[in-house]
């Protein structure tokens, strides 16, 4: 049973942490904890203590000490997550991996890297670049998010359309279980026999184990890249273009959509060269052999024109290409200038249903009185509608949450899922019954309990709190924002 209130020996635990890690690696004063109450989502949850281990041994000791004091533990990378996955929903110990940031090995010949979980995504690519290699998963937050966080959430990014998400690039993990046991799963070569535990742990949102070391595949940089900006007078035309590109089985490296409203906000801020008078643009990248890229770019241009693209621009050089991507990757930041808060949703749909989904989102926006923008990974059907709101206006905030839940419900209705890359976390735990039955939950709960039997690790995530399957172990938790009804 996880104890959620502070116990008298709480100060004893802090002392033990300080003995283990040194005083500069333990935070517990309220003003120090404030920063760790948030992540990139709209959720909140304050830990009692924040610790910064540097070794696997530290992590194992921290886990054991926390268990002795009946404190739950939550792992955290850079805190850029968008579903509340790295928040201490029930208080307890927050284990921040930021200082476990060593790249242990960069094996160029075998295209592997072994890293600590706190290594920043972009830093690994930067280290590998000199050898013509890179780490393929590239979330928008790649300059600050950590690989450990990517593993926990099975993070995506624009270029995962062609290259796969994080799980497709992880071959081995070292993890620490809630009892302090250190377990190695998978293999460097990627062909380990037995159950695919690596596949289970990646994307388990820190609810099964704490990841302390990661072996990833590095990809070879392509010979040629072409970046296209297709400009449309209507969102429907842009959406139809994506459907057609997919149906013709052309697989670009990335296929992103920005609607007119968001691209005007972005352009205002970043000056990426987006046409502010258009209804939507597609940012499409093709990579590979020079011969393949030329043919793909031509085919895509033809499809765009068949759907009344006003213009299809080809980035002339790397500078222009980088600027377009800067606009895309910093778009959410740009929107922050328009309203006190924004809520980035994450739903996923069959790609053939893209036009109808975008129309429905527009309707829902009208119904609830919000302008809902869309900047998203169109090529893999991963929607990111953005609702701007003022959190101080309680009624508006409630309406924003209702609109969000309705959008996600629509994704499920048309054959999609709750989340494509942000994770369930706290945000969507109450929506899980839209997809999963009691039997599904019972099995997931048994798998959860096989590794994390006391829910001492990241309690209150993924599983709905309101659903009566299995034992509800979290007592004083704030309830999830998004609900089924």
């Amino acid at each position: 049973m996880v104890r959620l209130t502070l116990r008298p020996m709480y100060s004893g635990l802090i002392r033990e942490f300080e003995d283990l890690l040194g005083p500069s690696s333990v935070l517990y004063r309220p003003e120090d904890l404030l920063l760790y109450e948030y992540d990139g989502s709209i959720e909140k949850g304050r830990p009692n203590v924040v610790v910064f281990p540097t070794t696997t041994e530290h992590v194992s000791r921290i886990v054991k000490l926390s268990a002795e004091h009946h404190f739950p533990i939550v792992g955290r990378g850079a805190g850029t997550g968008l579903s509340g996955g790295a928040l201490a929903r029930t208080g307890g110990v927050m284990l921040v991996f930021a200082r476990m940031n060593r790249i242990f090995e960069l094996d160029v010949e075998n295209q592997r890297a072994t890293v600590q979980p706190g290594v920043v995504n972009y830093e690994l690519t930067r280290a590998a670049e000199a050898h013509g290699l890179y780490f393929a998963p590239d979330p928008s937050s790649w300059k600050s998010c950590t690989i450990g966080g990517n593993v926990a959430e099975n993070a995506g990014g624009p270029h995962t359309l062609a290259y796969g998400v994080t799980t497709n690039h992880v071959t081995a993990l070292e993890v620490v279980l809630p009892d302090g046991e250190v377990l190695r799963v998978g293999s460097t070569h990627g062909d380990a026999p037995g159950y695919d535990l690596t596949g289970l742990f990646v994307g388990s949102e820190g609810t099964l184990a704490l990841v302390t070391e990661i072996t990833v595949k590095l990809s070879r940089k392509p010979e040629a890249v072409k970046t296209l900006l297709a400009i449309f007078e209507s969102v429907d035309d842009a959406a139809d273009t994506v459907v057609d590109i997919t149906a013709r089985a052309i697989t670009p490296a990335a296929c992103e959509m920005l609607d007119g409203w968001t691209l005007r906000a972005v352009e205002d801020y970043i000056h990426a060269g987006f046409p502010t008078d258009s209804a939507a643009v597609l940012l499409i990248e093709v990579e590979g052999l020079a011969e393949t890229v030329a043919a793909q770019a031509a085919a895509i241009t033809e499809v765009c024109h068949a759907h009344r693209a006003r213009e299809v621009r080809l980035a002339r050089d790397n500078a222009e290409r980088n600027l377009l991507w800067k606009g895309r990757k910093n778009a959410f930041g740009a929107l922050g200038r328009l309203a006190p808060s924004n809520y980035v949703l994450d739903g996923v749909i069959p790609r053939s249903k893209l036009p109808q989904a975008l129309r429905r989102i527009r309707q829902i926006g009208d119904q609830y009185g919000f302008q809902i923008g869309n900047i998203f990974h169109a090529g893999d059907g991963n929607l990111h509608p953005i609702v701007l709101f003022d959190p101080r206006d309680k009624k508006q905030f409630e309406r924003a949450l209702q609109a969000a839940a309705e959008i996600i419900r629509h994704c499920v209705e048309i054959g999609g899922a709750l989340t494509g890359e942000h994770g369930v976390g706290m945000e969507k735990s109450e929506l899980m019954p839209l997809l999963f039955s009691d039997a599904d939950f019972a099995l997931m709960r048994r798998v959860h309990d096989a590794f994390n039997p006391d829910s001492s690790l990241n309690p209150g995530k993924i599983f709905p709190l309101s659903k009566g399957c299995g034992e509800i172990r979290v007592r004083h938790s704030s309830s999830s924002r998004l609900r089924v009804d």
Binding site: E109, S204, A295, G420, F436, L443
Partner: protein, 502 residues
């Protein structure tokens, strides 16, 4: 329960009807695993009926083995108990296919070839080109976890399986994942089913992403006097911008088999335009013989590539140049009329090896590419020491399939196989690799069950009539404590193939 129990048969009949239950001894014998014959065979017509039987088995504590086409019949250690064979081949529909989304949902008992014939109508395919291709079911292909030459470019099943429906050990219908290509909703339980050998759940339905079928493809073969030269070409290709569909190296002895033999498994074309066999939906035929362009006495590097004419030209030009730089003795570019004879044999390597020797013993060795050369030398030396003929194929991602082929199965050869097995395991783990024993004669299994008397490695056997396919985790598995935890989470009453993997 090794003999039929009339009570058991009638109890199962009461659940799904007499027409779906086989209790005759001869019929049951087809489902024998390591000489254990089930008491009853049930052939449910729906996932709900299958779940009904699993619930019954859970209640009665009966051991159950799910089946597809029985091509990989005895995957795993000899089961410790075996009561009910659950034949899933009546679940053979394709309930969902969205060509515009490139997603597919298919019943577990559907044949892979049938699925691909359907997808090809939309110029798409599923890169699940497993051995015994024309016979295999999708469920069996996933449960056995066997890869294919296409993993070079498409990855293994874990890279394109996006969701699954299955029956857990309590008899409940469960699911994970979904039908969308990008999804992080809930645990990726479906990945655990890959290679699980039926020990976790009965798979009822699988969701995949599909891929555009290569419109125009070519093959490339280069011959070499030594393995080192072939590996040098492998490295040049991997470090170049080229991304071939397949990349395999064959030993001269295996090339010899390819040149001389034709697999017994009936052949169906995978893609249109392959002249080696009829169109995908036609009747199976035999694979045509390999052409005289194949220099069977040398090491071979085989690659396939696809694309527009200018892309094909680029591949042919670069591959030929790299091969020359690696001292190839000859090179050939193969078109659709010649390519299938070689690629069909590459895909059907296991069946061909098993046909070549009744005591064929095949290891799967996973290793980093940088260790390939030294490990190839080690395993060939070991084969020489035990004086057994050997053959091998190197899948260029870093997987070696190594076969020892004794002329006959007897106590003496079994002893030599066991000696070789333990040396191969040692050599592989010394360079950080993993050995899995794929196929071995039945007599070899017990001798490998507990090589040091304490650690019992996990053995899996895959039987194809006269021979066995064994999958074995050689050394003490690093995830050994996690395996049983998962097994009991999925199957709390231990009814799914007890003893097979754990």
């Amino acid at each position: 329960m090794s003999t039929s129990s009339p009570n058991l048969a009638s109890a199962v009949e009461a659940l799904i009807g007499a027409s779906r239950v086989l209790s005759d001894r001869a019929q049951r014998a087809i489902y024998a695993v390591d000489d254990m014959v089930p008491s009853v065979v049930a052939k449910p017509s729906s996932a709900e009926e299958a779940a009904e039987i699993v619930r019954f088995a859970a209640r009665e504590k009966l051991a159950l083995i799910p089946y597809g086409a029985r091509t990989k019949l005895r995957v795993g250690m000899p089961p410790s108990r075996y009561d009910i064979a659950l034949d899933m081949t009546a679940l053979n529909q394709i309930p969902h296919y969205d060509p515009g989304d490139l997603t597919l949902s298919v019943d577990a008992g559907t044949s892979v070839a049938k699925v691909n014939a359907h997808l090809l109508e939309h110029n798409q395919f599923l890169p699940l080109l497993v051995p015994w291709y024309s016979l295999s079911t999708v469920g069996g292909a996933i449960a056995s976890g066997i890869d294919s030459p296409l993993r070079q470019s498409y990855g293994t099943a874990r890279d394109f399986l996006i969701g699954a429906e299955f029956i857990d050990g309590t008899g409940k219908l469960c699911k994970s994942g979904g039908r969308v290509v990008k999804n992080v909703t809930g645990y990726d339980l479906h990945k655990l089913l890959i290679g699980s050998l039926g020990t976790l759940a009965v798979i009822t339905r699988l969701n995949f992403r599909t891929f555009p079928a290569p419109v125009s493809s070519r093959g490339f073969v280069a011959s070499f006097a030594s393995a080192e030269n072939a590996l040098a070409l492998r490295r040049s290709i991997v470090e170049s911008p080229l991304n071939p569909l397949t990349l395999d190296i064959l030993s001269p002895s295996l090339a010899q088999i390819f040149a001389e033999k034709t697999p017994a498994t009936p052949e169906v074309a995978v893609f249109r335009g392959e002249n080696g066999a009829g169109p995908p939906d036609s009747n199976p035929s035999a694979l045509p013989p390999i052409g005289d362009w194949f220099r069977a006495h040398e090491w071979q590097l085989c690659a396939a590539f696809a694309g527009a004419p200018e892309v094909l030209e680029r591949y042919a030009r670069d591959l030929t140049r790299f091969a020359r730089e690696s001292h190839a003795t000859s090179t050939a570019i193969l078109d659709d009329s010649t390519r299938p004879s070689l690629w069909g044999r590459l895909r059907e390597t296991f069946p061909m090896l098993l046909e070549a020797s009744s005591a064929a013993t095949i290891f799967k060795i996973g290793v980093l590419p940088s260790q390939l050369a030294s490990l190839l030398a080690s395993v060939q030396k070991i084969a020489g020491q035990v004086e057994l003929p050997h053959m091998l194929v190197v899948r260029a991602v870093g997987t070696i399939y190594f076969a020892l082929l004794p002329a006959s199965a007897n106590d003496e050869t079994t002893a030599r196989l066991a000696q070789a097995a333990s040396q191969i395991i040692q050599s592989t783990s010394a360079v950080g690799g993993d050995t899995t024993l794929l196929f071995a004669p039945p007599a070899l299994k017990p001798s490998l069950c507990a090589p040091d008397g304490s650690v019992s490695p996990r053995l899996n056997t895959l039987d194809t009539g006269s021979s066995d396919l064994l999958l074995m985790r050689a050394a003490c598995a690093p995830d050994v404590s996690a395996g049983p935890r998962l097994k009991s989470a999925f199957d709390p009453h231990n009814i799914f193939v007890p003893g097979r993997l754990i």
